[in-house]
Symmetry: C2
Subunit: 226 residues, 2 copies
């Protein structure tokens, strides 16, 4: 469902161009669970941003559902980012002036043009262990792992088909990490495509397939033996 063709990404800095991704091609099927691993600075977050249509490549093409995103209208792209794709950022990117509850609700209000009266937001927060009291805190009034869990809940609120997770358990103790992974794997078993960037080999081992990035290049693409 997601295909990158010869994707390169250069960041032009005054001190010199940075080649963050170098000619990466890769194809991910609907419902697949893929782990992306590699050293710090190797290009994983940059790659995930490309897969999630959050960034434009310097060259190469991204196709979603067979259609190149350069061929999509603005409304198609909006639909993609707001409804098709759920993204969990490495640094969470929560809105500082909104409460945890409002942060999770925000993409819902963008999609439905109204507040959530179905209890969906409360349910998602509860699934990641954030109770109604904690949900009233602003992000700066939450622990690192609580902020991460709010970011996870937010990515799920519009029931996306493709979940892109940038180190989703990096700030969680093992027990909470297992809770989150079980939730993500359950969504994957229901047909959602799950792409996780991780530094945790234990998490990569749970994926169907592991992609290794080094210095902006795809160096391995291995189906995990079960």
């Amino acid at each position: 469902v997601v295909r990158l063709e010869n994707i390169s990404k250069i960041y032009p800095l005054l001190s010199g161009d940075v080649l963050a991704l170098n000619n990466i091609s890769l194809s991910i099927k609907t419902g697949e669970f893929v782990a992306i691993i590699g050293p710090s600075g190797s290009g994983k977050s940059t790659l995930l941003n490309q897969l999630g249509c959050l960034d434009v490549p310097t060259s190469g093409d991204l196709k979603i559902g067979g259609k190149s995103i350069t061929q999509m209208s603005d409304s198609e792209l909006t639909h993609l980012r707001l409804i098709m794709i759920g993204f969990i950022f490495q640094k969470f990117n929560l809105l500082p002036l909104l409460s945890a509850y409002e942060n999770v609700e925000y993409p819902y209000t963008l999609k439905y043009r109204k507040r959530d009266t179905s209890g969906r937001v409360t349910k998602l927060l509860d699934m990641v262990g954030i109770n109604e009291d904690l949900a009233k805190h602003k992000p700066s009034e939450l622990s690192g792992g609580q902020q991460q869990r709010v970011a996870i809940a937010r990515s799920l609120v519009n029931n996306p088909k493709i979940l892109l997770c940038d180190e989703p358990t990096g700030n969680l103790d093992s027990k909470t990490g297992v809770l989150v992974m079980n939730m993500l794997k359950k969504l994957n078993s229901k047909g959602k495509t799950l792409i996780i960037v991780t530094h945790d080999p234990g998490i990569a081992a749970q994926a169907d397939r592991t992609i290794t990035i080094r210095d902006g290049e795809l160096v391995a693409d291995v189906v995990n033996n079960q």
Copy 2:
């Protein structure tokens, strides 16, 4: 060298007071390597902020080198925070408008009132794998793990006696994580007190002693059998 006596911390929120730390007493000797573990939201970062004099308790006392911080003058407190104590934050807290190099140099310039001509900043960045080109990037132009390593280098620039690290390897691949831990353990072997909050049991296992926090309370304090 660091002693907490009956420390409690309450965050007063409109939605209700949060008891983040509940009557914690603990004593850490000079040169000890202590790991602090516990579930997400249990109070580890809040505890570390108390130990690092970055926050005032609601009740209880903190003594450093036998002297209560309530008895210290402003200049003594400044000396403590700028020179005695090095802090690595869970969310890095890098200054967004400065380059990585300038971020590491900043506490040095506060201490010596001049820029670093000794090459110390370059050497520290090199030790965490950040070369001279990467050092020119601003934090937003670095990967998550590169930002974490800049925060680590910064905490060491004034050669502190006490190192407080809030999940210092959370965004690093295993190889880079080992590099960082070896560096921290080497500093500990030279007499620096090392206190690490971690979710990684492998890191806790390397400490002399493991303290467990749950719901704001000290529930275990165990010397590791070597």
